[in-house]
């Protein structure tokens, strides 16, 4: 039996990615990174800023996300996100832009703990990319 399942990444504008030969997806869930394999139990969880790794026969892909929801059901993984970039298409200047934005946000004093945490996360992830 094949060990592959289907993944769909959707953003509000369109279906960002649809693949049905995926062997593993690693998502930056809210409470830590989570690797999803075939026949995982049905789960709904949140994403924090981080990297989604999609491992498949046709090649591995990495995406940077800022937020989102993952739903896994019947070997169908749906990832809903509003901000996603393919790392392969992202050049240095784009990364710098995002980093700058995130740093600005993290340095604001009038935000609550949760947004502060998210902004810090963004900075951290983006720094590791560079």
């Amino acid at each position: 039996m094949s060990e592959e399942f289907k993944v769909e990444i959707v953003n509000p504008e369109k279906c960002f990615l649809v693949k049905d030969d995926v062997s593993e997806v690693v998502v930056p869930a809210f409470e830590g990174e989570m690797g999803i394999l075939k026949d995982h139990i049905s789960i709904i969880s949140f994403l924090k800023p981080g990297i989604i790794k999609v491992l498949s026969k046709s090649g591995d892909e990495n995406y940077y996300v800022e937020d989102g929801i993952v739903e896994f059901k019947n070997n169908n993984l749906s990832i809903l996100t509003s901000t996603i970039f393919n790392l392969a298409d992202m050049d240095k200047s784009k990364q710098q832009d995002l980093l700058k934005q995130a740093e600005e946000e993290a340095n604001k004093t009038d935000i609550n703990d949760q947004s502060k945490f998210l902004a810090d996360q963004k900075v951290e992830v983006l720094k590791t990319l560079n």
Binding site: V10, S78, L80
Partner: protein, 290 residues
């Protein structure tokens, strides 16, 4: 009867109007294709979002303590209506249809003695509503600068709605927009987004989910996002509807202008012939009298 010169001028002016409407139709047709595409591409996201929420709200054990965005404030005193229209005119009945739908809802609300608050998105709706309901409009937003509907704008509206909800300014929120069915039909819609209306939807799955973190936390994070998503969906549908409506309106206008030109041309030719005949008669009768 109008003189020959007048007729000539009118024909010319109708022709130039026809050129304009024809050009607008072409532009609308081109834009429609793009708008329709993005409306269709945007559907999976909002559908998925709805699904997840449905599954979540079924899974919630303690319905009493569910987030207010889902279950409502427990009363229905103040209604907030978000009326979404276009920023530009010349699109047939597009704006009036939404306004008509919204107005009938307003009347109903007011008749029941409830309080009404309005947010208008798009300047055309504001123009039409402020005459009658000017004192009810609390906010007027327009995205004239942004070319296409984008999620960022929708999020802004969504955040504002949620802010107002959390401040206790209203109990029920409904959005009004045109759903795009095809180029000639757009259906004005009233969709209640707060509290979330799951009526009529069957329990899609009995399967239990694992949640991480727990349901409540996910729900309270997800619901505000859902509001923005629904508004975004409405914006996409609206922009496709607007272009479709404009296209058919301009098509009609072009055709009508064509008919008018034909009619005027016949009239012009007739009067020209009448003038010639008159001159001939004068000449002949003049010659005969000699």
């Amino acid at each position: 009867m109008a003189s020959l010169d007048d007729l000539k001028k009118r024909i010319a002016s109708v022709k130039s109007t026809q050129k304009i409407t024809k050009a607008m139709k072409m532009v609308a047709a081109a834009k429609l294709r793009r708008a329709q595409e993005s409306a269709e591409k945007g559907r999976p996201y909002s559908e998925k979002m709805n699904n997840v929420i449905l599954n979540l709200s079924n899974g919630i054990s303690d319905k009493e303590n569910a987030p207010k965005l889902l279950s409502g404030t427990g009363q229905e005193k103040t209604h907030l209506c978000v009326v979404m229209t276009s920023d530009r005119g010349l699109c047939g009945g597009f704006n009036s249809n939404i306004i008509k739908k919204a107005k009938s809802y307003f009347v109903k609300i007011l008749d029941e003695g409830k309080e009404l608050k309005i947010i208008t998105v798009g300047s055309k709706g504001n123009d039409q509503l402020k005459r009658v309901y000017g004192d009810k409009i609390i906010e007027n937003i327009s995205f004239k600068e942004s070319k296409n509907a984008n999620y960022f704008d929708a999020d802004k509206v969504g955040k504002m709605v949620i802010e107002k909800f959390e401040a206790g300014e209203f109990d029920v929120c409904t959005i009004f927009y045109n759903q795009f069915k095809n180029v000639i039909t757009q259906i004005p819609q009233a969709q209640q987004i707060i509290p979330l209306n799951n009526e009529g939807e069957e329990n899609s799955s009995e399967e239990s989910y694992e949640f991480e973190p727990d349901e409540d936390e996910i729900l309270s994070n997800l619901l505000p996002k859902n509001i923005s998503t629904q508004i975004f969906k409405a914006m996409l549908e609206n922009s496709a509807s607007e272009q479709g409506s404009r296209m058919s309106a301009m098509d009609n206008a072009t055709r009508n202008a064509g008919e008018m030109v034909d009619k005027l041309t016949i009239e012009y030719n007739r009067s020209r012939q009448a003038a010639i005949t008159k001159e001939l008669i004068e000449i002949i009768s003049g010659a005969e009298s000699l």
